[in-house]
Each structure stands twice: as C-alpha cells, then as structure tokens.
C-alpha cells in the first residue's frame, strides 16, 4: 500500500476537521474552530470568485439571479459533495434551523462525510479507466477503494497524482496500479495524463501535428517516452497475478501504431537528462506536480469548477488551448495559484467555491439572464449522474435487489456484478456529452416508471406512515425525502385529494405520490 505519510500539520488539521464535523451539526453550538492556514481563508477566496463573476456580468449587463433557497442549496450541495440527496429528516432540520452559518456548516459536514470520497471516486474512476472491451474485464474495486480513501483523507492533490503515476505492484498491494493495467498502452496513458492532469487534448498529436495549436507530434511522443519503461506482468483479468513495474529497460506490452522515438521531454518544456538505469515516471511526476507547473493546478481547478457548476471556466474542461480561452481567465489564474499555495488542498478549494455567492445562486432565470449559459448569472441545472440517481433512489425506496446471475455476470464483467454497477451501466451517458445535457432515453424512462423495484412504495412511504399521523404530514415527508423541500399549497392539495380518492389504503395513495415525485424532472435534476 501507499505510505500513510503526510505533514504533521495536515494530520492535525484533519483530526480537528473531523472533530469539528462531529460536533458541528447546524442545529447545535459553534464547532471548535480549525486553525486557519497561513493563507487566505476560504471566505476570501469565495469573495474573490464573486468579484470576478460579478464584474463580467456587469460588463455584459446581465442580471444575476438571487441567492437560492435553503432547499435548493441543501439538495444541490448534498448531491455535489456527497453524491446523494439528503434524507427527509436532514432536510427538515436544515430548513427549520435558524443558525445563520448553517450553509457553511453543511458544506463542512458534507466534506467530512465518507460519501464524499465515494462520490469523488465515482467521478475519477470513470475518468481514469477507458471504456474499452479490454479494460472492462479488469477488477477495478482496488482503484475505487484507493480513490475513496485518498479523497476522504484529503490527500494533497500533488501527492495523490504522484502516487497514481508512479504506482507499482499488484492491485492487491496498491489500488493505484489498476490505472496502469487498464491503460496498457503508452498512447492510452499519454492521452489520459495530458487530459486529466495537464488539461489539454494532446491525443490528436499522436498521429499529426495539432490543427489548432502549435503542438507537434514530437510534443506528444516526447511526453509518451516517460511511460515507455513501464512493464505489465501477469494477466490483469486474474486476481493476484498482474502487476506493474518500472524496470531498467522495460517496454510496455504493445506499442501503438505510428510510434515516434524522440527523447523524453516535458510538455512544452525542457528535455531532462535521464540516466538509463533510473525509472522515468518519478522524474516526470516531479515536473508535473511542481507548484510552478503552469498546467497542473489549473487543470484540477477547472475540472473541479466544471464538476460543481456543470461547466468549466474553460469548456470542455480538458481543452485548454489558446483558441479556447477561459470565460474568466484571471479567476482561473487566481484560483490555480490559491490551490497550489494551499498545498493542493482539494477539500479546501471545494469549500471556497461552495461558499461563494456564485455557487449559491438560484437556478431560476431572473431578469434578463434566461439566455445566459456561460457567465454564471444563474446556476446551470444538471441531470443527476447515474451513481447519484441510484444512491438517491436507494435512500427513497430501499436497497436494490442484487442482480440475477451475478456469478455468471461476474465472470464476464467483474465490475457489473452488483446492482449499482448495473444501474450505472444502464444509465451511463456518452462520455463526450455535455454534463448539463439530459441523456436518458426511453429505456431509462421505462425503467424508472415501471420497474417493480421503484413501484413498491418502499422505505420513505413506510417512514411517512410510521412517523406521521395525517395525510398532509405524510405527503410533506415524501417531498422532503425526495425533493428536499416542502410541497406548495397547491401541490399539497392536489396530492391530498389523490390520496383520499384512493380510499382506505393510504399506503397505495402515498406510493402513487412517491412514484410521481421520483419520476419528476425535479428529482432527476440537480437544480
């Protein structure tokens, strides 16, 4: 396994954050303050974000939408950070809380929730593993576990990436090794590393000079050289046999077509002198994750921004090049500088963004801003990811039954043997799709409407029946547990009439209400 080393102060901070979270429910007293870094505070960064965003809106004469409601904020930030909607009880407590700092406290609580790591792992797993027929057969759980743990302990991003990119050993020893097994060719790694950690789409330059930039084929192959000494051993489809080493003169199993042999060179940078006997990846990683690297911090800042807002400051998030400028270039620069200065503190950056007014704007169009989709005048409405949808549905209807034939399925595809993975595969959108675009089609709609699992009422209905005695209170419970808000007067009346019409069996009537709620746009979207 990776070494559990981290600087002492980080460790101490982690403990305090954890303690803060344990004490820091929004209803109670102020949590113990974590020591502030010798840096700008998250609040100051949030204010900086708002300054930049507001300036552009003023220039363009576009009205910003007002601050979102507590209900909007609660559902949004829960989905964005923990990857799942809040329970009815959490919603009720949050909406009723009078604590003025409740939003800030909620952000901290969610960042300390273990589901944060799971959510980040869901996102990064999809990014790190190509969806090819080969990689689908590799067991990815060790990587998921490594990602989950790393994000939850808030491992500094530079260290996390370094661990990933210099990984050796078997997946059982080191979950990060799965990345290499799933990307068994040097071109796959080169494309992936440049997209994810440099924020550039260098893959076109594999075969020809880049059409819109000055990037040359040699830039691509110069970068690719750093990964040439990696060796994959054993059969990645068999547990315990496959491993990754970087030897003296290793060769990756298969070289892509059109490979060009050029000396290793950092992207648009210098050509390091490398001893033949030394492994190349650590040298590359040191360059990559250096504070001074102009790409590294920016790539992650832009990606996190895109994750939270549904649109990167540079969009698409991995297409940073002169012809595709950022909507707010100075903001991107300043955030990247802050991120690097903070020791690549991922949770810290997320906290700062979520504290901003920009993040907390309503998604309802306001004034003249309905047509703006790029200047953050109002929040973009995003569809839930398949993972978010599955986890949220489970919360509402109860655990899904494990898929049939799971043994046979496991042999064919070890990663789809559980209900969640199958659901995700079924709802998965096209990789290149815009994150704000609704991707589900008729089969997905049919499944949400008609699958027995989503029609049997389930835990939320039982909870409502158990905890509340009036139809109105029960309907409210269903709203809180699905949409994180209370019903409007008109909604309450409509649904109450429906439940009453369905006669003596209130459970049936409430199941109908739940069916309507989970099939609504409002449920499948993050507003």
């Amino acid at each position: 396994m990776y070494a559990a080393w981290k600087p002492l102060w980080m460790g101490a901070l982690g403990v305090l954050i954890t303690l803060g979270i344990l004490n820091g429910t929004w209803g109670g007293e102020e949590p113990e303050k974590a020591p502030t870094r010798p840096l700008v505070s998250a609040g100051e960064i949030a204010a900086m974000i708002d300054r930049h965003i507001a300036a552009t809106l003023r220039e363009e004469k576009i009205d910003p939408s007002p601050r979102c409601s507590d209900a909007e904020f609660l559902r949004r930030v829960s989905l964005d950070l923990a990857g799942v909607i809040p329970t009815a009880e959490v919603a009720r407590t949050f909406l009723d809380s009078q604590v003025p700092t409740k939003r800030a406290r909620l952000i901290d609580e969610l960042l300390g929730d273990p589901r944060y790591g799971q959510h980040m792992a869901d996102i990064w797993q999809a990014l790190l593993l190509p969806k090819t027929s080969d990689s689908r057969r590799i067991r990815i759980e060790p990587l998921t576990e490594w990602l989950r743990a790393s994000f939850n302990e808030n491992k500094p991003w530079d260290r996390m990436v370094a661990e990933l990119l210099t990984a050796t050993g078997t997946p059982e020893e080191n979950g990060a090794a799965v990345y290499w097994l799933a990307n068994p060719r040097v071109d796959l790694v080169t494309g992936s590393v440049s997209r994810l950690f440099l924020g550039v789409q260098l893959q076109c330059a594999q075969c020809h000079n880049h059409p819109f930039t000055d990037w040359k084929q040699d830039d691509y192959w110069g970068l690719a050289q750093f990964f040439m000494k990696v060796r994959l051993e054993g059969n990645p489809r068999q547990n315990g046999t496959a491993g990754v080493t970087e030897g003296e003169r290793g060769r990756r199993g298969m070289l892509p077509e059109g490979v060009k042999q050029v000396p290793p060179r950092f992207f648009l940078g210098e050509q390091p002198t490398l001893a033949r006997s030394e492994p190349y990846r650590p040298v590359f990683t040191q360059w990559l994750t250096a504070k001074e690297n102009p790409f590294f911090a920016k790539a992650m800042v832009n990606r996190l921004w895109g994750q939270l807002f549904g649109r990167g400051l540079v969009h698409p998030v991995d297409d940073m090049q002169p012809d595709n400028p950022a909507s707010h270039p100075e903001l991107l620069e300043e955030l990247a500088a802050y991120f690097a200065d903070s020791g690549f503190d991922v949770k810290g950056l997320i906290r700062a963004i979520c504290l901003s007014e920009t993040y907390q704007r309503s998604s309802k169009p306001h004034g003249n801003n309905a047509d703006d989709a790029i200047l953050y005048s109002h929040r973009i409405v995003k569809p839930l990811s398949p993972e978010q949808l599955f986890d949220s549905l489970q919360l509402v209807v109860g655990p899904a039954t494990p898929p049939q034939n799971s043994n046979r399925q496991a042999a064919k595809n070890p990663n789809q043997a559980n209900a969640r993975a199958q659901f995700v595969a079924f709802f998965e959108a096209d990789e290149s799709a815009d994150p704000a675009e609704y991707q589900a089609g008729i089969p997905q709609a049919l499944r949400l409407m008609n699958s027995p699992q989503l029609n049997r009422g389930g835990v939320l209905v039982e909870e409502a029946l158990r905890q509340h005695s009036t139809t109105e209170a029960r309907i409210e419970h269903l709203f809180l547990g699905t949409l994180s808000r209370r019903p409007t007067e008109a909604e309450l009346q409509r649904f109450r009439d429906h439940v009453r019409r369905s006669g003596s069996n209130e459970r049936n009537g409430l199941s109908d209400v739940l069916w309507v709620l989970i099939n609504s746009s409002e449920f499948v979207l993050n507003r």
């Binding site: 789409q201 989709a373 409405v381 609704y438 089609g441 089969p443 429906h498 309507v516 609504s520």
Partner: protein
C-alpha cells in the same frame, strides 16, 4: 479534439432551446397527455399510410472491401478467400456470402466509395451525418434522425429511429424527438414496457406527474427538464401502442429465427424487419468486430458468415411481404481496409483505408443486379465512378424520397442543408 466553436455552439443550442421552452411553457407546443388513450386509438387506423423505410446494417470497424465485395483474385495481397459467381452474370463476390450471392439481382454494389476520413470516430460521424465532426461548430443530426423527421409520422407511437446493438448517432440540432431508441439486446426487446400498476392508476399517476412537470418547467425553464418530459411522453406512448408488440421476437416461429442465423446480429435484423413492418422509418443494426488490424482473414470469414444469413433472410422476408421496394437496406461501415496486408503481428491484418471501398444497397426501389464503380487492380484507387460521402448521403436521401437540398434550421437560425453542397446522387441506381 473539439474545436473552439463548440463553446459558442452549445451556447447557441441553449438559446435555441430556451426559445422553444418559452413557447412550451406558454402551452404553444408540446403534446398534452391527458387524452393520450384516445389519440392513440385514432392513430392505429392512420398508420397504414406507407412511407419508405431504411435499414442500415452498420459494420463497425470498417470491413475489408477486398475480402468481401470487391475481390482482386490473382493480384498481390488478394487475401485468402475465393470469389463465387452470383445470380447476376458477371458479378462475383466473396465465397463467404453464398446465400446473399443468390439475391444479387436485388442489390447494387458501390465499389467507388472514397470518403476521406480514416479515424473511426470521425469516419463514423461523417458517414452518419454527412458533415465532418465539429464543422461549423454544430452537432449534426444523423441520417436516422433525418429520416425520422422527414419520413416518420409525428404521432406514430413508436420512435421513428431505432438503433439495435449500439447507440449510433443522435439527433443533433433536430432535438430530442428524433433521438434513437436504443435496443441493446434484441432478445429482450424493450424492457419494462408494461406499467407496474393497473391502467387507471397509471393514468392518474401520470396526470399528477404532468402537473408537477408543468410547474417546474415554468419556474426553471431548463432544457434538460424539457428533454425529460419529451422522453417520458414518448415512453408512455410506446407503452400504450399496439405496435410495441413488434419488439417481441418470441412471436416469430423458430424456423424464421433460425433463418437469420443464431446470432445477436441476426436477431437484430429480424427485429429490424418487424419494426419496418409496423411502420418504423429507420432502423440501424450494428455488427462490431470489423477493425481487423490483426487476424483479418479468420475474423472477416466469421463476420461474413454472420452477415450472410441475416442479410439474406432480411431481403427474402421483406420481398415476401411486399416491402422490399419500399425498404432500403444499406450495408456499410467506417471505411475500407488497406489493399496491402500488414505483417505486424503473428496473424496479419489490414489497416484503415477510406480512399477506396465498397458499400451495398438493396431494395428501396433501386435498380438491382449491378456494380457501380471500379477500383484498380489492387483495390487501392477508384478508377471509375467515385462516390464521396456527400454523394452517398444524397443517394440514400434520393432513394428514400427525401429532398437532400432541403434546409433545416440549426441554432441561431442557420439554415443547414440535409446534405451539404457538392453531393450528387448516384443516378445509375434509378432505372
């Protein structure tokens, strides 16, 4: 690589959608579902109206022309297969299409394809849309979506574009109505097609849902909420339709299923026939595995033996039902493969080759029993009757009775031709 215009375009798409949403929120467009049962009952009578249909058999990866429909026996790198004669004197094809050879009188082979995109993703995009990926910063509709819009009846209960065995390409700026219904496994058809509660209860649930949706859309004006609603409306329409039975392959006798070959692709072709029978305008069936950089001959042989019974049964069945003249079958892939055999691996293969290759058209009222175009003796260069991607798209449209010069409105009010300027139909196909 996405060009910079993408940014502008997604913004424009949004603008465009928002206009639509405003109308929709105001109740100007959009189907009201309260009366859907009646609408559908009335519909059933109307769907007897016949339009042409199209079935694309998409050979994912790019089939080797020299080992299928443009063989070059006795020349260098001619490969391992032999030619056989067909029902049309003078036309010879690979020995691994014996059944199809007997039906050659219905088919035309275009041997002059020359399409200019040699990378899978870009070639697939180009050959599905007629536009190069990213061109002008737009997302173009695929031919399936175009056919759905031009030929499909707007109130037809089934989607007018069904894609079997692969997601294919979407509707681009034509919007969610013309997105394909994707059937991953033809054996299972469309899952969860039946409501879990009785009809009356489902109806009352659905009308409550409509109320919810109206309120949300009005407040948030979100394009993805509109898309969600459109998708649901189509799904419910599908649930209620008699035509949905077409998805149930178990209604076919075993002998028929066997004729198509016991393969997922064969069943996909059978499903395509059933869908065309009830009036679906466009079906695409994907068969993967043609990217034969390695082990070309074993693989092409195996794949050919998957295609041969399926394609032949499809032709015969359509003919027997009087549907062949109104149904165009297109056999095509990403591109052809190199005339030279590579020697990289232990089992040689052929690489990507868009410069000269072949497609096959069957039915749809074309003049069959002919070969159009000729390549040189290596199968490397088109010597006669070049067919570009634009020519090809125009040809498909012409056969189906679609005016390929028609302009559809893209975001920003840009009129975009169905097939860009410069495409001319292959007139030899029209008797």
């Amino acid at each position: 690589m996405e060009p910079k215009l993408w940014k502008v375009s997604s913004h424009l798409v949004d603008l465009y959608r928002r206009d639509f949403l405003k109308l929709s929120a105001a109740g100007v467009v959009g189907t009201c579902f309260s009366g859907w049962l009646n609408i559908l009952a009335a519909d059933a009578a109307k769907s007897g109206v016949k339009h042409k249909s199209c079935i694309v058999l998409w050979m994912e990866g790019g089939p080797s022309h020299k080992d299928t429909f443009d063989m070059k026996p006795g020349t260098a790198d001619s490969g391992e297969f032999s030619e056989i004669p067909t029902s049309v004197p003078g036309i010879r094809i690979s020995e691994h299409f014996p059944k199809f050879a007997e039906l050659m009188q219905h088919a035309a082979i275009l041997r002059g394809m020359s399409t200019g995109e040699g990378a899978h993703a870009r070639a697939r995009y180009y050959l599905h849309t007629g536009y190069r990926e990213g061109q002008g910063g737009l997302v173009y509709p695929s031919i399936g979506s175009i056919v759905s819009m031009e030929l499909g009846q707007p109130d037809f209960p089934l989607p007018n574009y069904v894609s079997i065995g692969g997601p294919s390409f979407g509707s681009g700026f034509l919007g969610p109505r013309h997105q394909p219904l994707v059937v991953n496994n033809p054996d299972r058809g469309v899952e969860n097609l039946r409501a879990a509660v009785d009809e009356q209860r489902f109806t009352s649930r659905y009308s409550l849902l409509e109320e919810m949706e109206k309120g949300f859309l009005k407040e948030y004006q979100a394009a993805n909420s509109q898309a969600h609603q459109t998708t649901y409306q189509r799904a419910v329409q599908l649930m209620q339709s008699r035509e949905a039975k077409a998805f149930d392959l178990s209604q076919e006798p075993e002998t028929v299923r066997a004729a198509y070959g016991n393969t997922p692709f064969g069943r996909g072709c059978l499903l395509a026939r059933r869908l065309v029978e009830v009036g679906v305008a466009f079906v695409e069936v994907t068969l993967g595995g043609w990217d034969t950089h390695q082990d070309n001959f074993d693989r092409v042989k195996r794949l050919s033996s998957v295609v041969d019974p399926a394609l032949s049964a499809l032709i015969t069945d359509l003919k027997d039902r009087g549907l062949l003249d109104s149904t165009l079958i297109v056999w095509m892939g990403d591109f052809g493969r190199t005339p030279k055999i590579n020697n990289r691996g232990p089992k040689p293969g052929r690489d990507h080759y868009p410069r000269a290759w072949s497609t096959v058209l069957v039915g749809g009222g074309i003049k069959g029993g002919q070969v159009i175009g000729r390549t040189d003796k290596e199968g490397a260069v088109v010597e006669e009757r070049v067919v570009t991607t634009l020519d090809f798209m125009a040809t498909i449209c012409q056969i189906l009775g679609i005016d390929y010069t028609k302009r559809n409105l893209a975001p920003g009010g840009r009129p975009i031709r169905i097939v860009d300027k410069g495409g001319n139909p292959v007139t030899e196909l029209f008797a």
